[in-house]
């Protein structure tokens, strides 16, 4: 059994850029503890001489010609078509840097 604390859940949510309310923290604490408790039986498998697998294709370094392909390019308008706020043909985002006060 793995018991996550409210603090653990808040920390994970913070890393994942999710804002949780106190009700959600309590609910997810129980559910995530159950799931992590279940998957923890993997610890019993002997893996000291095993290499990890991150993909199954056996392909390596797949490249293409470094050339523009007009068939698979978007116009500026198309690229911006999913956003609500644009400015002079750019995506508009909230400021992340502040001026020295």
């Amino acid at each position: 059994m793995t018991d996550l604390t409210n603090k653990d859940i808040s920390h994970i949510a913070d890393l994942a850029k999710l804002n949780l309310n106190s009700h959600e923290i309590v609910k997810f604490k129980k559910q995530l503890s159950d799931i992590i408790g279940y998957v923890s039986h993997l610890k019993e498998v002997e893996t000291s001489n095993v290499e990890p697998t991150s993909q199954t294709t056996n392909l390596k370094d797949v490249t293409r010609d470094d050339a523009a392909n007009s068939q698979n390019s978007l116009t500026q308008d198309e690229a911006l078509s999913g956003t609500e706020e644009t400015h002079n043909g750019y995506f508009k985002v909230s400021a992340i840097l502040e001026k020295d006060k």
Partner: protein, 469 residues
């Protein structure tokens, strides 16, 4: 003209050629059924009526002008398809069944969508699914659960719930899905249709909303194994856009085929009806001269745990792009299941836990792959149940995520190892819900799945059925 459209590609194309009906008639008829039944079944999120009629008229012109030659140039001419709402469709809303993307209209189409278009298909609608393809029952959709056409009190299976239900309800001739851990095979099994999860790296994922990138495969639904083959002929192959693709096709020329029965798939928790169904199928295939042999895959029991570490890790990364800036809504709009998986993935990747969970899961994945590779030195394919039970009741597992996750316990092997698997319907339970089984084969051996599947459907003189809705 409205009528009940035929259930196979061959009958549909024969009817079109003989002018028994037109492609416009087909669209009329499917739409009529959707409008009649879908308020209740909830398999569809978005209809594409205008573009479907436009394409249907084009199909009718092609058939008038070129007769049977039209079908040579366009192998799926006149085939009406419904795409899971994970596939980007240019100009047609694509939501991933999540409120985050409820207004998103893509500016390009997925490779597979383009291939279906070029092969003569008519796109009719976008199908409901678990939001972001996270789920085994279809109940995680922000657009409400899809009901099983065989019995509306039961789930359709997930995550490609709407695709499988659309096919069972005869809203279309074929449908697409994605399978990261059973998301094509489980709903196919619950709804009584054929579902193919191809080899990882055989069908392009370009333009399909990513869930867990080392596991996602793009598959499809049909009513016969032969139709599944026809669709795969169109969808497979390199596209220069998805770097995991390889053109490969292994054909085994062998007079005696041996199929393994992995004993770890027939353990406590497997429903008796489901188990009986698989063994009945084995006996039918024996009559056709197929050899069967018990084999052992002892690490099968760890598969779902490996999956529930690797998959959320990859989910947390893939859903990182949804920041509400370039498209879609803010992160607070994610539903509970997406939040759970993002947090689970963030946890297993975080400092202090990476080695214990993520790295250990990747190592156990290597062991499972080696075990399966070794078994395939001995047998040509594997037969197993698709899920521990057939369709369960709506709401039965929604409050217990862990018990929902265990629905996919028999699906994990194919995704973790990258091998192809086909779910084939066979028979019904006492309460008249579909049963079936899956056949798995080595990578790029879809040909083996098709020959065994077709042999089976010939032996039982398979006639697809549409339930009374």
């Amino acid at each position: 003209m409205k009528f009940n459209p035929p259930l196979t590609i061959e009958e549909t194309q024969k009817g079109l050629l003989k002018k028994d009906f037109s492609a416009v008639d087909l669209v009329d008829s499917y739409l009529d059924r959707i409008k009649k039944y879908d308020k209740n079944l909830n398999a569809i999120i978005t209809l594409a009526e205008d573009s479907a009629y436009e394409k249907a008229k084009k199909v009718d012109r092609l058939i008038s002008d070129y007769k049977e030659n039209a079908f040579k140039d366009y192998p799926l001419l006149g085939v009406v398809v419904i795409h899971k709402d994970m596939f980007l469709t240019k100009g047609i809303r694509t939501t991933a069944a999540s409120n985050v993307l409820k207004d998103y209209i893509p500016s390009y189409s997925a490779t597979t969508v383009k291939k279906f278009d070029a092969a003569g298909c008519i796109t009719l609608a976008k199908a409901n699914c678990d939001a972001w393809a996270h789920g085994s029952s279809g109940e995680n959709s922000d657009f409400g659960p899809t009901k099983n056409p065989w019995n509306e009190n039961f789930v359709a299976g997930g995550s490609s719930s709407g695709s499988a239900a659309s096919l069972a309800a005869n809203y279309c001739l074929i449908a697409t899905g994605t399978d990261t851990c059973g998301s094509v095979r489980v709903p196919a099994n619950f709804c009584g249709v054929v579902g193919l999860k191809p080899t990882y790296g055989s069908v392009s994922r370009y333009g399909v909303i990513a869930m867990a990138s080392s596991l996602d495969s793009v598959g499809h639904f049909s009513r016969t194994v032969e139709d599944s083959r026809k669709i795969f002929e169109v969808t497979k192959g390199e596209d220069g856009l998805d770097a995991t693709l390889k053109n490969s096709n292994i054909i085994l020329d062998k007079s005696k085929i041996t199929v393994g029965i992995p004993k770890e798939f027939f353990v406590k928790g497997l429903d008796k009806d489901v188990e009986k169904g698989v063994f009945a199928a084995i006996n039918l295939l024996k009559k056709k001269g197929i050899n069967f042999k018990e084999v052992s895959l002892p690490h099968t029991k760890y598969g779902i745990s490996v999956y529930y570490i690797i998959q959320p890790a990859e989910v947390s990364s893939n859903l990182g792009r949804y920041d509400g800036i370039r498209f879609g809504d803010e992160r607070e709009v994610f539903g509970d299941e997406a939040k759970r998986r993002i947090m689970l993935g963030t946890y297993v990747l975080s400092a202090g836990y990476y080695d214990a969970y993520y790295n250990q899961a990747m190592k156990v994945r290597s062991i499972i792959i080696k075990e399966v590779d070794n078994v395939f030195k001995d047998v040509d394919a594997l037969i197993a149940p698709v899920a521990p039970t057939n369709a369960f009741k709506l709401g039965e597992k929604t409050n217990n995520p862990l018990s929902m996750y265990l629905t996919d316990i028999y699906a994990a092997t194919a995704n973790l190892t990258g091998i192809p698997s086909i779910a084939i319907p066979y028979g019904f339970s006492k309460n008249r819900l579909p049963l079936g089984f899956q056949i798995m084969a080595p990578k790029f051996s879809e040909d083996m799945l098709v020959s065994l599947g077709k042999m089976f459907q010939q032996e039982i003189s398979w006639k697809p059925e549409v339930p009374n809705i």
